[in-house]
Subunit: 309 residues, 2 copies
């Protein structure tokens, strides 16, 4: 089964303690597609300006990303520039130039309107809802958002959430949206607004999935070196959604594995600048990483373990 | 097998958004013993003042804590008073009165000098080392410490670490001790100074064990309500050490389970004020919690999962 990804296709200029990358491929749609396409066919809908090095997206097309929904229009591409702190735990945005992204109105190609697996990257909730109006029979609609929409466009976001199955946010966003510092209660609050599944991403501290009768936790992978955190959340989303679309199931066991595949892809993304690590990832590497996640979390519960009271 | 616990036996006055507890039983030795005694016999070594309500420790004696090493001397007991923020994520110390604890020189009773499992609560590293000199054949020596010793008594602490098998610290302490923000590297740094096992406690974000060839992660348990975080780390230490002493093994599978039992005890500790939750804990409750930890972390890795590249 195939996945529809709607999101930004950008050019990032990133400075980390390890170096600088200028005008590197970036954007939520790009990272998510790069990760998801390791599992299933992907249809990407986005917009780029006349200055975009479109041929650099060829590697995505080669592994099954349909780019016909990426419109190229007159004007400047979306550019983001940021600098990370020495420990990579915080970053400062130097510049955001929306360019043609400011007028982005996602048009879902006719051939994509029957897709069942939908990921709405972080854009105006009005546009996210408009995408959903174009879809006929989505089976799982997942979306991302950010503090900008939570604070300034709250009503629109809450209206969107009524039509969303899965919300994927980071911990500060979950807290801001719900007004509750406590993540479990924050997730329950969000679930009452529509999404029956909430995933809270906590960066180096891992990610938690809250479903109706299930909580599932994946730690951040203990990497020796982190190179560039940009796009880790979108790579997580791509791995998660790509795995689920491929499995074609929302069974609890599949949701658990999707969390691990998402975390694996997120952990790979940070090992190199920008998209670089996702370009040449092999199935063996992905399986090894998933196995490593199992090694650091699995234990056998011995019901007969002695406890004196 | 039995566990030796050396630590503070204190009276805590705690204010949380849910209420105030005055002169409640507290201290690292008390919390650790309360948790560990659910698994194995415990010998507690500490000191209290003439004002200590010693009879309130009877519940510990009833479940196998040998209190003969808790000396009562003329003077005031160790008192700590603190207030937690509305979200319980930070706390401010209002008052620390060391009292008789200021002159604490742990004397290990002759009958305890052959014990194999040793936990050194957070006290002056010179005293911790002095305890070790009194022990004959310890099999596992674990210790806790804090920023005060890391910053002000660094040389003494490093000398102690050469004789310690397992260091248990929180994330900020691991970073401060090693000078490395990155936890994996911080743990490797510490391992090179002596302890072959390092456990980093991250509060709501769980705990990580670093051994020679193993990393193991347990999340913070997603509790609906947290009442009082005081003593969670010491209850973790007690559950961890108590489980290991009972198992009588340092095999990787036992270390994994010890991490989960430790986390379970830590998660119980915060459900009520002070020691209250640990008083009446039943084996069934402990097993249910461990099973719940398994539910939120276990997944099956299907080696044949399709990955296209």
């Amino acid at each position: 089964m195939s996945l529809l990804v709607v999101g930004s296709v950008a050019l990032d200029t990133i400075e980390t303690p390890f170096g600088i990358a200028e005008d590197a491929l970036g954007g939520s749609g790009t990272f998510c597609s790069a990760a998801a396409s390791l599992f299933c066919p992907v249809h990407l809908v986005g917009v780029v300006g006349s200055d975009y090095p479109v041929s650099e997206l060829d590697f995505l097309a080669e592994r099954g990303v349909d780019l016909s929904g990426v419109e190229q229009v007159e004007g400047e591409s979306f550019r983001w520039s940021g600098v990370y702190s020495y420990d990579l735990n915080s970053r400062e945005t130097r510049e955001t130039r929306l360019g043609v992204f400011a007028d982005f109105k996602p048009k879902i190609p006719e051939a994509c309107r029957n897709l069942e697996w939908v990921f709405l990257g972080n854009i105006d909730p009005v546009l996210q809802l408009d995408v959903l109006r174009q879809m006929r029979t989505p089976r799982l609609v997942a979306c991302d958002t950010m503090n900008y929409w939570i604070n300034g466009h709250r009503e629109n976001l809450l209206k969107l959430l009524e039509h969303v199955d899965l919300l994927m946010v980071n911990d500060s966003e979950a807290r801001e949206l719900s007004g509750d510092h406590h993540l479990l209660r924050a997730a329950r609050w969000i679930q009452q607004r529509g999404p029956r599944i909430v995933i809270v991403k906590k960066g180096e501290h891992g990610a938690i999935l809250f479903a109706e009768d299930m909580v599932f936790f994946v730690p951040g992978f203990p990497l020796e070196d982190i190179f560039d955190p940009t796009g880790a959340g979108d790579a997580f989303a791509g791995g998660f959604m790509g795995y689920l679309a491929r499995a074609g199931s929302l069974e609890p066991d599949e949701l658990r594995r999707a969390m691990v595949y998402g975390s694996a892809l997120g952990s790979f993304a940070v090992e190199r600048f920008g998209l670089d690590r996702l370009r040449n990832l092999t199935p063996a590497e992905i399986h090894d990483r998933v196995r490593a996640f199992r090694d650091i979390t699995a234990f056998e519960h011995i019901a007969a373990v002695p406890v004196d009271v």
